[in-house]
């Protein structure tokens, strides 16, 4: 199973970061200033969290004049939501290995 999961989980493990991401999902594009106003933490802290979210592909930034606007990238969550097809692929390949092993085993 992929390390993409680990990266996403690590990124979203922080409650402040997760709240920022959920807010962008819910309310659409926001400036750093608007996000800071409701976050309860300082603007540098918000900017740092947004940087981590951006590295994980969870948000995108857009510069307009002196403002930076952030928006959620829902596609980055696909590895999490597509759990069933990932696991199905994992087990199919394990069944292949199991059959190979059974052929080699003594009765």
């Amino acid at each position: 199973m992929p390390n993409a999961h680990d990266a996403l989980f690590r990124t979203l493990a922080d409650p402040t970061r997760r709240a920022l991401f959920e807010r962008l999902c819910r309310e659409g594009e926001q400036t750093v200033g608007a996000l800071t106003a409701q976050s309860g933490v300082s603007q540098p802290a918000v900017s740092k969290h947004l940087g981590v979210l951006r590295q994980a592909g969870l948000v995108r930034d857009r510069h307009e004049g002196r403002q930076t606007h952030y928006s959620a990238q829902l596609g980055a969550l696909a590895p999490l939501i597509d759990w069933t097809s990932q696991m199905a692929g994992f087990w199919q390949s394990r069944f292949d290995h199991l059959e190979d092993l059974l052929k080699r085993m003594d009765q």
Binding site: R26, L74, L77, Q92, L98, L102
Partner: protein, 136 residues
């Protein structure tokens, strides 16, 4: 996306294998054999036994839930924040066996039925799915 209260995420893989159940059972329950097709583990065929599977990408935490030699085996499977149960069923089919693996993941409302839910991911993912459903 459906977020109905009773929904689970389920994966089923089923295959006819030209070997008897007894032989497949050994491969499912003996660590030196499990390692060859699945992962390294300290599995023991005893109900409540806690064990893990280990691979280069990380570990899966497990506990044996039910065991009936040569017929069925189930254990919890917790990895990457998602808790699930893996159930193996072996049914004789001619000279071989129909081997079925079912893995079911739990939704947040079912979390109480499942000890060891270490993260709030299920809840988080459910709320995200609701958000995504609105976006569509």
């Amino acid at each position: 996306m459906n977020t109905e209260a009773t929904e689970t995420l389920t994966v089923v893989v089923e295959r006819e294998i030209p070997f008897p159940p007894e032989k497949i059972w050994r491969a499912l329950t003996q660590p030196h054999l499990i390692e060859e097709w699945l992962m390294k583990s300290d599995f023991k065929p005893a109900v409540d036994h806690r064990f893990s599977f280990r691979a280069d990408w990380g570990a899966v935490d497990c506990q044996v839930m039910a065991i009936e030699p040569n017929k069925t085996l189930s254990y919890t499977w917790a990895a990457h924040g998602l808790d699930s149960v893996v159930t193996w069923t072996l049914m004789p089919a001619g000279t071989g066996t129909l081997l079925r693996m079912e893995q079911s993941g739990f939704r947040p409302d079912q979390k109480q039925a499942f000890h060891g839910a270490r993260f709030g991911w299920q809840k988080f993912l459910a709320s995200l799915e609701q958000t995504l459903a609105k976006v569509d």
